[in-house]
């Protein structure tokens, strides 16, 4: 029992280390990579939990990647899991930035580095679009019009109207509260 727990923490640490080292761009990139690793490959979380955790990570202060690591860490291994996941997330950028701050001028002007980074940006965009397509298809398949409407409204709000993400999450949460109250009232009327 103890050994399998230790093993789980080691896997958690190296998964986060690996993901964090390859996460170029914003917090949604790391969340999509975490979904592929912890939901699809390791089956430690289900898809709904990952989405819930994304919402919490996104609407809490601080870096989304660190917040998501705290949530997944607690779920997978309690306090030790949380510490392990956060260390795995934080170490790669700290190590890389420490080195870069020493060699910044050389790094910024290197053409090979610039070309590799440009190619990787295309790949990162494709990974995010891939995950969004998979999750979006599942929302639509449930055929709940309220959820489809939230999907469309949230997309329009962020993409076209550049509404702050925190407001979008609060509004969606408010819709959930209203639906729950309406259902309770409906249930009591019967």
């Amino acid at each position: 029992m103890e050994r399998s727990r230790g093993k789980r923490l080691v896997t958690l640490f190296f998964s986060m280390l690996y993901i964090s080292a390859f996460t170029f761009g914003g917090g949604f990139v790391i969340v999509t990579l975490m979904k592929r690793r912890f939901v699809d490959e390791l089956h430690w979380l289900d898809e709904q939990e990952m989405l819930d955790m994304t919402a919490i990570a996104q609407s809490s202060p601080g870096a989304i990647a660190v917040n998501a690591a705290v949530l997944v860490g607690w779920k997978v291994g309690g306090f030790a899991g949380m510490v392990t996941a956060v260390l795995g997330t934080v170490l790669p950028p700290v190590a890389i930035l420490s080195l870069i701050s020493l060699f910044y001028a050389m790094f910024a002007e290197n053409r090979i580095v610039a070309l590799v980074l440009r190619g990787m940006q295309s790949g990162v965009a494709a990974v995010i679009v891939d995950v969004a397509l998979g999750l979006g298809a599942k929302v639509l398949k449930n055929r709940k019009w309220v959820h489809n409407a939230i999907l469309a409204a949230a997309f329009a709000a962020t993409f076209f109207f550049k509404v702050n993400v925190v407001w979008i999450i609060l509004c969606a949460a408010l819709v959930g509260v209203i639906l729950a109250l309406a259902e309770r009232k409906g249930g009591m009327a019967k």
């Binding site: 592929r36 202060p61 700290v94 990162v124 979006g136 999907l151």
Partner: protein, 187 residues
């Protein structure tokens, strides 16, 4: 006392940046450039560029970069710890609430409504990145970077059709960028 100052500055940045990396940029600017003068305006731009080009959250990148310049490794450690601490405390509390109360009908309903919104946010982030990579930010055929779009399409095809691992896909795209660049197809 520089270490303590670094710690407290980045604690504030961590506490008040809500909504991801881009929300942290103005806070970092005000603390590191305006209040403490740890970086010049030009160094701050360098920092933003590095943060964009390297993995990891911008807050952590900034904390390490600034801490390292001001007080070496100990500075990097204090600033990073300061940035992460509010997340650890606040999100741990939320995690406890979530894991304990998620069976309640009210929280169930809230979470069910949040999920499609999160999916939309992820989709919009992906689309925005695609526009940035393929068109330099706005949909304009004249500005299309066909090599980058082709890499994107190939990557998406591999991910969708063959369920390729995301990290392998990103690494292959990096190699693709290098090859296309050395052939002179992208600048």
């Amino acid at each position: 006392m520089t270490l303590l100052e670094l710690f407290l500055s980045f604690l504030q940045i961590g506490l008040f940046s809500i909504g991801g990396g881009y929300a942290a940029i103005p806070l970092i600017q005000s603390q590191a450039v305006e209040i403490h003068g740890w970086l010049t305006a030009e160094q701050f731009l360098d920092l933003a560029t590095i943060a964009e080009m390297t993995p990891g959250p911008i807050g952590i990148n900034a904390a390490t970069f600034v801490g390292m310049r001001v007080a070496g490794l100990a500075g990097a450690a204090s600033a990073t710890l300061g940035f992460v601490l509010p997340s650890l405390i606040i999100v741990s509390l939320l995690s406890w609430v979530y894991l304990r109360f998620r069976q309640l009908p009210m929280l169930q309903s809230v979470l069910a409504s949040l999920r499609p919104a999160v999916v939309a946010l992820i989709g919009a982030a992906g689309l925005r990145m695609f526009l940035q990579v393929g068109f330099g930010g706005q949909l304009d055929i004249a500005r299309a970077d066909w090599a980058a779009i082709a890499l994107f399409a190939a990557a998406l095809f591999g991910l969708r059709k063959y369920k390729m691992s995301p990290i392998l896909t990103i690494a292959l795209c990096g190699a693709g960028g290098l090859i296309l660049g050395l052939l002179g197809i992208i600048q």
